[in-house]
Symmetry: C2
Subunit: 126 residues, 2 copies
């Protein structure tokens, strides 16, 4: 049986809104020891993703960038709890990204599948 996303995903996510400042995003990333934040609107719907890669744009890119909306990615590649893990894994590779927000049937973000979680599926050799 092919494992499903819900069997290896992380159920904890760290969220932010697009009107927050980049320094707020940076502090949340560091405090959460994660590379990915989901951007939600006031109704809790997914409007984007912002990562440590995007925050790096504020250091190595244009001067004077201040808000999350200026660096976030709006077209988010997602997965869902019942998606087979190999299908999700190929999305990561195809888009050169390391995490997929997991969206449930009601459209809410239920968690995050990170590339690190794929390690759970590779054989047990102790």
């Amino acid at each position: 049986h092919t494992p499903l996303v819900r069997e290896i995903m992380d159920y904890e996510i760290v969220t932010i809104t697009e009107d927050d400042e980049i320094t707020t995003a940076a502090k949340k990333l560091l405090r959460g020891a994660t590379n990915h934040l989901t951007v939600l609107d006031r109704e809790g719907r997914l409007t984007g993703i912002v990562t440590t890669y995007d925050v790096t744009k504020a250091v190595g890119g244009r001067e004077g960038i201040r808000y999350v909306k200026e660096i976030m990615t709006r077209h988010v590649i997602t997965t869902y709890p019942l998606e087979p893990v190999d299908v999700a894994a190929r999305k990561l590779k195809r888009h050169n990204i390391s995490a997929l927000p997991v969206v449930d049937p009601e459209g809410k973000v239920a968690g995050m599948l990170t590339a690190i979680d794929l390690g759970k599926l590779i054989g047990r050799r102790e």
Copy 2:
């Protein structure tokens, strides 16, 4: 047969030295569309790793940080070309990191194993 790191690793790495500025690291990360740089000394030996997570420290952490040596991680978790992939994958999960520099028998960095590469091993369903 358990796959070996050399069968799925990336052979391209982007390097930097610890005396470079953080803005230089940021530009190299963005240009390389990667989250990881290996820090090498003048003899080409691995002295650390610096990632987009570390660059984020310059945005969300202490004021006035300027050089790679101030944000890099010196104790690097590594792998080697003949290491079984499942052993390498567990290192990623245990340390909550998403890449392992691959060091060859002469101590040179031969490439990088990223968590995204683990996707290559999860079944083929087309």
